[in-house]
Symmetry: C2
Subunit: 243 residues, 2 copies
């Protein structure tokens, strides 16, 4: 049993505005909920249907399939839905390897990038204000528990980069190969958006870095997907600095 | 104007069975059609709506928005739809760096992997028979023109690997770091499926290769996305062999 008011509140979390107001977001699916719980995020409430009973230790509320359908964001609700507290905001970072995202739009890409940051021990991802929302359900689905271990910040990226003392490397399609430079341990690596690359106002705030293309017809190949390019650059960073 | 029979034939191409029978597939959107055309694929027919007239040089047939809606696979048809001939099947490869995919299921991942192969000059991708179909519309959307430059084969992967004389490297979550081994110029790199990794019957057919994890809590991070992992391994291959 779930009240009409509760249904209304949970449904409102499909929108960023309401998520930000309440500082809550939705996670669906047994594995994702378990991951976030294990990673230490605060779970506000858990709802399960009669058929789904694997989260007994977390004291879920049992609701009907029809009730679940009314609060789920998915066409076929997996039967497990949790309302989760957003992590506390943290101060903007000024050391270590920092990843900066300039208007990445696809929630799946953002989720994959945060998992990559987690894998390569990048503790902070600084997003421009126009970057897709981390708590978008599709993004949450792609990050898994990584959002509990990586601090994701939203800010005026131009301002942040201008004020930072760290070396800034900007991923572009230039000829400045990542393999021809010495990568610093403390730095900001800036990745651009899927369709527009790096914003013009950021281009001069750092030095260019790129992944060489090996195809002989290299005027024909499209650019790499932003998540894939981020993975290749972070792997090379960790390999070459040994950190 | 488009006949009922033609509509029926084009709609049938949404299914793999009919694509394979007719050796035709669908591409939608101006940019994708232009890319495939430039890449040298045979275009059978092009349809555009009255509002969309940028492909004049390719002599498209103009149809109504309602007719376009009836043949399009997309909720919001972009107004450009081409019926394209599949590339001719090629003999299975036995030299160079070859990528093998064991049951990759997500069409977006397959598309991204083919773009990566193109970028890193990998001419052949050998897929297990249960790998998602290359000509799935979502996959085509993600490959762009790369499918004209990379040969994608479907076969019994176990049989192919067993018969091959090339060194076989199998991407796993083992501790055998890609950075601790010497990578051969001619080899088969095998990547597993999103949810099940490498099939058990393939595991003993080659040696393990993995991407080291740098996170201190490395029991918690999920595995990398298969397309991202492929990108990191191919980049390291080209960097370390210099080819």
């Amino acid at each position: 049993m779930i009240t009409k008011n509760k249904i209304k509140q949970i449904k409102s979390l499909a929108r960023k505005k309401h998520r930000d107001e309440l500082r809550l977001f939705i996670v669906e699916g047994y594995k994702s909920i378990r991951e976030l719980k294990n990673a230490g995020l605060g779970i506000e409430e858990i709802f399960v249907t009669n058929e789904a009973q694997k989260l007994d230790d977390l004291h879920p509320k049992t609701i009907t399939a029809a009730e679940m359908k009314s609060i789920s964001n998915l066409k076929t609700p997996p039967g497990y839905l949790a309302v989760v507290k957003m992590p506390e905001p943290q101060a903007l970072p000024n050391e270590g390897l920092i990843l900066a995202l300039d208007n990445v739009q696809d929630p799946g890409n953002l989720g994959t990038i945060i998992r990559l940051a987690d894998w390569f021990n990048v503790k902070n991802v600084v997003c421009s204000s126009a970057t897709v929302d981390l708590f978008n359900p599709k993004c949450i689905q792609a990050t898994m528990g990584s959002i509990a271990r990586v601090h994701v910040h939203y800010t005026d990226l131009e301002d942040y980069l201008q004020k930072s003392d760290l070396p800034i490397m900007i991923a572009t399609m230039s000829k400045t190969s990542v393999y021809d430079m010495s990568l610093p341990n403390n730095a900001i690596l800036v990745m651009g958006s899927e369709s527009h690359g790096i914003s013009e106002e950021l281009l001069n705030l750092g030095s260019a870095i790129s992944i060489p293309q090996y195809s002989p017809e290299n005027d024909k190949t499209e650019s790499l997907n932003v998540a894939t390019a981020t993975g290749i650059l972070l792997a090379e960073w960790r390999r070459s600095t040994g950190m």
